[in-house]
Symmetry: C2
Subunit: 535 residues, 2 copies
Amino acid sequence: MKHGTSTNIKHIMKIPGLVQNAAGRWVPLKVNGKTQVPFQGIGKFMPDGKKHGVNIPTCANYPSDGNKQVSTLKEALIKAGLKDGITISTHHHFRNGDLLSNQIFDIAKELNVKDLVWFPSASFPCHEHLIQYLEDGTIHHIEGSMNGPLGRFASEGKMKGTGVLRSHGGRYQAIQDGEVQIDIAVIGAACTDPFGNANGLNGSSATGLLGFALADSQFADKVIIVTDNMVPFPCLPWQIQGNFVDYTVEIEKLGDPEKIISGTTRITKSPDRLYMAELTAKFCEAAGIIKEGFSFQSGAGGTSLAVGEYFKEIMKKKGIKARFARGGSNKYLVSMLQEGLIDYLLDGQTFDLEGVRSMSENPNHVWTSPFTSYNYHSKGNFAGMVDVVILGATEIDINFNANVVTHSDGYLLHGIGGWQNCLFSKTVILPVPLFRDRIPVIVDEVTTLCGPGELIDVVVTERGIAINPQRQDLIEAVKGSGLPLKTIGELKEIAEKICGKPEKALFEDQIIAIIKWVDGTILDTVKKVKEKING
Amino acid sequence: MKHGTSTNIKHIMKIPGLVQNAAGRWVPLKVNGKTQVPFQGIGKFMPDGKKHGVNIPTCANYPSDGNKQVSTLKEALIKAGLKDGITISTHHHFRNGDLLSNQIFDIAKELNVKDLVWFPSASFPCHEHLIQYLEDGTIHHIEGSMNGPLGRFASEGKMKGTGVLRSHGGRYQAIQDGEVQIDIAVIGAACTDPFGNANGLNGSSATGLLGFALADSQFADKVIIVTDNMVPFPCLPWQIQGNFVDYTVEIEKLGDPEKIISGTTRITKSPDRLYMAELTAKFCEAAGIIKEGFSFQSGAGGTSLAVGEYFKEIMKKKGIKARFARGGSNKYLVSMLQEGLIDYLLDGQTFDLEGVRSMSENPNHVWTSPFTSYNYHSKGNFAGMVDVVILGATEIDINFNANVVTHSDGYLLHGIGGWQNCLFSKTVILPVPLFRDRIPVIVDEVTTLCGPGELIDVVVTERGIAINPQRQDLIEAVKGSGLPLKTIGELKEIAEKICGKPEKALFEDQIIAIIKWVDGTILDTVKKVKEKING
């Protein structure tokens, strides 16, 4: 659903320093000292600036033989100008097995550097180590998703600055547009040459691709590549181009391969979730979405993976194939590619070793980037070309608005990932359980708005399917299909009948993080969770 | 030879509007209304600006389904804003078989558009058609090499504006730095999808790669992809990324495949030139350059190709292989890659169909671009990593300065290509005949300075080899090798003994073109050729 207009903009100041945006949410006009634009509606904000122009370098200042290798990460950071108040970026290709990011801030601490902005493409529980540096002032704040402990820390109001959460595409947009200026990008790569050509394919810390670091390599002032597998020039393929790189470093170990592989990439065994997955696939079949040459994307969660398997069955039965699938790749998608059920696998993030292997060997398993797939400040991107995308949510409200970052208790525990970007595909389906731990998922109003309801087409639960009334075409298409259709309100009532009306999370006024929309405007805020009296 | 300093800068105004640059050449401070920087010596000019920031686009203004196809080239040009005085770029992947560039200006003429700047990556005799538009004011001037008839036209002082000649790397630099701002880039591609992902590999107008159009795609205001082979999304590999593209068009025929293949890509049969090639290879062997893991680049000319064949013999004899070769690829280099004599072929321009086939099929035959290989305003580039490069020249003087654009009669008949960029490799060898048509090639002073002598290490002729005295290491290395070593002065004397002292070309004051150095400064000028009385 791409063409609806948003609710009216009411820029009337009611809360000091805040303004109500087009989604009706009160958002600040200044965050971490920078002026902000409130969300103006889908496709309404028209950027009028220029892309960020980095300083023009010259080969005269780089080694003529191309060897940019220095001995230690510390040396590289010092040469790159590590000092108080700068912005340092890292990337989450190693996911919870990242051994690099913590080292950077250990070095900063050792050198008594303060007030850094950490700009990761995502952070994980393994970065809990950094809480000490958020406490002692080494790190001022995090711009990027805060999965788990760091999110909890922020939600308790303990981070000095305000967190800024962006989608993968929004991160590219922010860098490209100069909204975030990276002083030093530190890119961990499974393989590099001394010149800085790098990839994530070859070596013991292989992660598949390095797409999340692409913008950083292009737009950061200084770029450091860190590897545990230095090879002679040329390192191929060069997913990151050495011509953007200032220094290269070899360290002993970049990542813990076992933890690089995401724990979520197994098909669910829960009967309820399998049923939701089956319903989702049946819905797509009934709606005529699964047809020769179609395209799809489904996430790495257990339910999404199961949807893919049901798609596979339907495609085999019908004797059709997909033109492309977008991933998060994993062994399931790889098998579909190998069996010829998919012409091309356009991969943004490799979730298992089968994905890494396939990407190395199969030219139809293609590495993409947030630039090609998700950047909204581009001349189009891939997201809109996908026929159907299957995503998750922590909450969905009766206006189809969805939340992916906070839980119903108000804690910020997840990042946005590519979720917002994927909402631009032709049909967006969210299979969600009606409740989790006896807390309803379908609610009156989402705690945090991450995706406006006008972009969300279908909600599938174990008790029925709700289609956004804006998608009359879909409602027509599945008429008489025998699918258990409900309104979103009916789904909410069923949940509340079982679990009771959920308590609303209580917040203090302090804004601990903001949620950016894909165009750099502020969609919503996350506030400090109110401590419960008597625990 | 990379570390010498240039002659003193003498910025004393002696000729009105001109200034003497660090190479002693008088150059203008303004060209086509734009302020210029005179050459300051190798590696001396320090850029202090920012890379060109293009207008930030938004997906909101592009079709959500990714289909950017319009019906005709004319429609695309009008939609892209074709109007008086703008800069339009094209590319020479089709070389003398280009059927696209002329059509663009036919359309401009039809629409009565005036004063265009044509910014090709190179022009060829097939573009003689455009002389009428240079005459009638449709095109104001050409920024780019003018091979053959267009160069002659310019040399006769008939072009309204001043030509600006740049190397391939210099063209990337100029675009990146905002020195040239392209309003509309028209990129001919053998294969594209409606979104604009494009390559030169698949289709009847296959040219191998599209590297010369990379900068244009990234930095032009509007980008049009023209193809004769539109395929469904995704067109892979995407050498040009659709996210940069505004419009796509399908026309009947892009290029004449027979003329796409360069006529120069056959090994010379001339005994003199074969001897020069053999001497060049023997020199490299004696100097210890041909060793395990070395790298080389040789041009597409008949003599250069022969050098490659001699290299092959030596490598086989020694049982060694090269880490990489840089091309201009052709069937000879491809056979070396296939035989395992080269690990990687880093290709910037595919000169024959064997090259196109190999690039499609062999992952070790890699497409590169002027950005990776040649851009001097980068954090290093590939050129400096090449152990030895074999190039041509129209003239070389006794200070090892060389000319590649004008003939001794003063006519501008060739482009610079990657020649200037390659001068940064570790050893630069120019095999040239002592004379052509009884006109000596080794002269007192080159007609046009394209490459400063401090970057040129060895001149090989059929009568002997001259080593630049700055390269004492090379002189030492080949001592006792039995090679026919001479001074450059001795070579000049031999030529003059045979042909007589050459007449100097006579020029008028009018500057018809400037020669840019790789850093955007002006190295030299080309003047209007004086008409011979009674001639």
